[in-house]
Symmetry: C2
Subunit: 374 residues, 2 copies
């Protein structure tokens, strides 16, 4: 039995109460310091709310990427998605940030849709299902406003012809022993899953292969994906490429208590295809920092720091820092109660989704424009 509060963070599972300081120590990454924040503010002219509010909190070699940016040297962005179901709002968070970075850095994005991974990992999923989800999920990405001219969506199974040679070169340098240590593979793990980390490494080098520009990638992603690129960092230079840099975000909490938003608990996450009624119901049932009764809460206040509704305002739905500070204060002092916040969040989410769902449908005709340019 795993203690309910024990922290489990692997690329496939995030559970328990997350201690981000401890993750930085255990994963051996660097904190995103005030100094780096200042540099970004200077370089970018502003700071995205996900930076201001420390959703992004850790990195590897992000300072070297800023060096390159400041010197006018090239690099590209890489992130991705394991398509095993519909996209929820938690998935959009690093994608929104990636779009911000792309606009500030004026650079290409490689987005990997890992239908092969989800097939070998998920017992019950068929390959045509994960592939289909890949195309569905791509609509959500495109709906965020990415531009086809500098965005390449890699669909692993479709694009394997461009990936396989690099994957073999990575795979040859990774022993089972290393893969086992990093990912916890066991004798019962299938050989497709064991090979797969080599495929996840490929987008780190694909720009160099396809264009001849041997530049590093910067990967914005949740910190649970770090182990993949730890292996990539080990082999990159042996293959004549740069080590990938990373900038890591926290997990966006689900509407339930603890852990990250997970599609395996559908009532705790808002899918981009949810109806207004579904959104209302899910938010209404959300875990908050409120008190058992309105009367008590008016008197003693709530705790926004454990409230999932507050975190949605913080990370996505309230851009204005003063309003966030006011909401924080009002919650603590009983000036607002949970019903107020839930109603406001429902309105904001539904307004966002109405627009997103329209753009998402419009994107169906554009998917091919985002195919890997090779």
């Amino acid at each position: 039995m795993v203690n309910e509060e024990e922290m489990i963070v692997t690329p496939w599972e995030v559970r328990g109460k997350i201690d981000y300081e401890k993750l930085i120590r255990e994963f051996g990454t660097q904190p995103l310091t005030d100094e780096l924040m200042e540099r970004m503010k200077k370089d970018f002219g502003d700071l995205h709310l996900q930076l201001r509010r420390r959703l992004f909190f850790s990195h590897r070699d992000f300072d070297l990427i800023l060096d390159r940016f400041e010197k006018g040297q090239g690099f590209v962005l890489y992130t991705g998605r394991g398509p095993s179901g519909p996209v929820h709002i938690g998935h959009l968070v690093p994608w929104i940030f990636t779009k911000y970075l792309q606009e500030k850095f004026h650079t290409n994005l490689y987005f990997q849709m890992t239908d092969d991974e989800k097939f070998v990992i998920e017992d019950e999923m068929a390959l045509d299902e994960t592939t289909r989800w890949g195309y569905e999920n791509a609509l959500d990405l495109i709906a965020l406003g990415f531009k086809p001219e500098n965005t390449n969506i890699i669909f692993d199974v479709k694009d394997i012809g461009h990936l396989y040679d690099l994957a073999l070169k990575v795979a040859k340098k990774v022993t089972y022993s290393t893969a086992k240590a990093v990912f916890g593979f066991q004798d019962s793990t299938n050989i497709g899953w064991i090979f797969w980390p080599a495929i996840q490494a490929v987008p780190c080098f694909i720009h160099a292969k396809l264009t001849g520009e041997n530049v590093p990638v910067l990967i914005p992603a949740a910190i649970d994906q770090d182990p993949y690129w730890r292996i990539t960092r080990d082999v990159a230079q042996k293959l004549g490429y740069h080590k990938p840099a990373q900038i890591h975000c926290r997990f966006v909490p689900g509407l339930g208590k603890g852990g990250k938003m997970s599609a395996s608990e559908p009532e705790t996450c808002i899918f981009t295809t949810d109806t207004p009624e579904q959104v209302k119901r899910k938010i209404w049932n959300a875990f908050t920092g409120g008190k058992p009764t309105v009367k008590e809460q008016r008197k003693t206040g709530g705790d926004p720091y454990i409230c999932t509704v507050f975190q949605y305002f913080l990370y996505l739905f309230e851009e204005d820092d003063e309003k966030i500070a006011q909401l924080d204060e009002d919650c603590r002092t009983g000036g607002v109660v949970c019903g107020d916040c839930k109603a406001l969040l429902t309105e904001r989410v539904n307004r966002f989704l109405k627009d997103h769902q329209k753009k998402r449908e419009d994107a169906r005709k554009d998917v091919q424009k985002f195919y890997l340019k090779a």
Copy 2:
């Protein structure tokens, strides 16, 4: 230290004195019985010398393939080559037999050129080298007279787009535990090699995938490759396909003492690109069943059964059974000595190679006609 005579047979290594009866028991295959020989003679009208002389000696489900043939039901052929260097005459033996089977069965052949395998297995080989050897080796196959309309050469790296989905489906059903037990993988094995058995399984199902005709394959190959398809046989039906059938040949001995012909000992094997002088020298230095002096051999005779030169007549260069019987007798009684046989074999090999080398060069313009039809 491995005893010089200890038998080692894996897909990557064949060493020591080979006991074929023991291989049938250990691998759990079936002997190619007199009854099957009779059926083939009836079905084919004749028996290839490699059958008459029992170079092919073992099988899995070959009787079911004959059943299908006799009932007019379809099946296809599949064999292949790991391209890590030039082709030698030992490699041609099962290919010549495959061509005979193809002509008798009037069926398609899928030939897998495993540039990916050789790259992940051979420490010192670059991927572009194994790929280049794949195209060079294809010339030898084509030179034997295969026809482009019913022969598909699969170049793994080039064709991975057609192979990957099936490989993933196989890989998902093979645990590391199984792969380790069958192939002897260790912690130091790289993850590309561990995945690779899934790629070798794919040509068993590719005809079904590409054409919709769900028919079995028959694989003519040396028995050391059996473990790959043992795994394939385990997963085939779970994926909705037929188990692959096999017909196994012995190893064609090198010109040195013991083991199979191996490109890693170049002086003991005749490459298809060797010059007449190289052929002469290698045959002149061959291990035979002769005596230390001509005088002694004239008096007490030699032993054709340990003689590598005799085996070349037996398996490739003397079609006439009466002449083989005569040579056998003459050797045993001292009627011919090693110099006679070496001179005759040199002449036959060089005559064959002169023709083969011309056809091999002519094949350069035809390789694309043999590409996988997909």
